[in-house]
């Protein structure tokens, strides 16, 4: 195995230009599990933890190398809530936002928040930068639009973050658990509401009809919330797997969406 350990973004992009199919290593919490348990053996690795530009975080952009631990103690409500549910302190110390995007698990915990925000993914190569909407970037389970030679630099956030954000997740225990279903609801100051759910389809998805029903300045009544739950269940495509049945996921998605929506009104 060949390893490059660039200490700056330009150096990292040069390393990738020279070896476009190199495997990217950030926190290692996904890649090393494959190395240890499935004996994955990439021919070459570009290790990113020394690249300071990837750890930058300002109002409009969160660097791909920002760790869960920093997100957990950061100023953004929804992001802090979801980061706290990821893995354990050991995982959160090293795992990154960019890693969650790059791995593109259908259950990735940052993905519903990014989808609810309509965030963009910023990619860079030695040829320049491009920005993709979250649903242009996430193509399927563990499939993204990142091209060989490209690096996820970070995510671009909307100009104003929603004042109301809530995230919730269901799994078999509280710590160290991959989401059976996860959900993020955000509500803008003008009442526009967006709902995104993970682990209920090949990629994170938005429940747009449910969003339309509850967007506005009138607090949803119990009858509207019932209808909202039903719409959420219609707009997802869960499967049976070893973690849960499709029927359980469908039920849980409705419950989580209603709960997180209610938190956005409290």
């Amino acid at each position: 195995m060949h390893i490059e350990r660039p200490e700056g973004l330009d150096e990292a992009l040069a390393a990738l230009a020279a070896d476009p199919h190199a495997t990217l290593l950030a926190g290692g919490t996904d890649l090393m599990v494959e190395v240890n348990l499935t004996h994955r053996r990439p021919a070459s690795v570009v290790a990113l933890r020394r690249v300071p530009e990837l750890r930058e975080w300002d109002e409009r952009m969160i660097g791909a190398g920002v760790s869960w631990a920093r997100m957990e103690s950061g100023p953004v409500t929804g992001l802090a809530q979801l980061a706290r549910t990821v893995g354990s302190p050991q995982i959160r110390a090293v795992g990154t936002l960019g890693g969650n995007l790059g791995t593109a698990s259908p259950a990735g915990d940052a993905l519903p928040w990014l989808a609810a925000l309509d965030a963009e993914v910023v990619l860079a190569s030695d040829r320049g930068r491009r920005r993709l909407a979250w649903d242009e970037f996430l193509l399927g389970p563990k499939r993204t639009a990142r091209q060989p030679g490209e690096l996820i630099v970070g995510v671009q956030l909307p100009e104003a973050l929603p004042p109301h954000q809530a995230f919730a997740k269901v799994g078999v225990r509280q710590a160290m658990v991959i989401a059976t279903v996860n959900c993020c609801v955000v509500r803008d100051a003008d009442g526009a509401t967006r709902v995104a759910l993970g682990a209920v389809g090949p990629t994170v998805r938005r429940a747009r009809r449910a969003e339309a029903l509850v967007s506005g300045t009138v607090r949803p009544s119990a009858a509207v919330l019932d209808r909202f739950e039903a719409l959420v269940r219609e707009e997802i495509a869960p499967i049976d797997d070893h973690r849960a049945s499709a029927a359980y996921r469908r039920h849980a998605a409705g419950v989580l969406a209603r709960r997180t929506l209610e938190r956005c009104w409290s």
């Binding site: 350990r5 240890n36 354990s88 050991q90 995982i91 110390a93």
Partner: protein, 160 residues
């Protein structure tokens, strides 16, 4: 390739082959068998070490990427020449927080880090800080009592 590290305060160089984890290098190349080799997927925490001051699972650190890092293992916690135990180690002994002992090194590292970084942590914070370390023997009660004992000794200089 050769990877240079600072392990428990001592500079060292280890020959590392391709995909070896930091855990493998600590145990098999440097003879430090305190961190345990168990799930190899970051679930159990029995390989917990400090890497540049953060608690991490050594099984998930690619050794080749640890070049230049400062590593503290459970072997590095006990103090000085008289073989005095670390406060947390002594508290685990005193509280009877060890049964089979396999998870103990990882728990000691995580608890020592908590004591160092957040000495006044409340019960919920302690449980959260140890949530990445599994113990299948004790039911955690004695472990939590050991941590409370260590906290009390660290802040008041006396046993509870």
């Amino acid at each position: 390739m050769i990877v240079t590290l600072e392990v428990n305060g001592e500079p060292c160089a280890a020959e590392v082959a391709g995909f070896e984890s930091l855990l493998w290098v600590l145990r098999e190349r440097l003879g430090l068998t305190g961190a345990k080799d168990a799930c190899l997927q970051g679930e159990c925490g029995s390989c917990s070490v400090l890497l540049d001051g953060e608690v991490v699972c050594a099984c998930l650190v690619l050794a080749a990427d640890a070049e230049g890092a400062r590593v503290t293992t459970v072997e590095g916690l006990a103090g000085g020449s008289e073989g005095e135990l670390h406060l947390v180690q002594q508290a685990f002994v005193d509280a009877g927080a060890v049964q089979c002992g396999f998870c103990t090194p990882g728990l000691i590292v995580a608890a020592a880090h908590l004591l160092e970084t957040r000495p006044g942590a409340g019960d919920a914070e302690v449980r959260e800080a140890l949530s990445g370390n599994l113990c299948r023997c004790t039911g955690y009660g004695a472990i939590l009592r050991a941590v409370a004992r260590a906290q009390s000794q660290a802040t008041q200089g006396g046993a509870p």
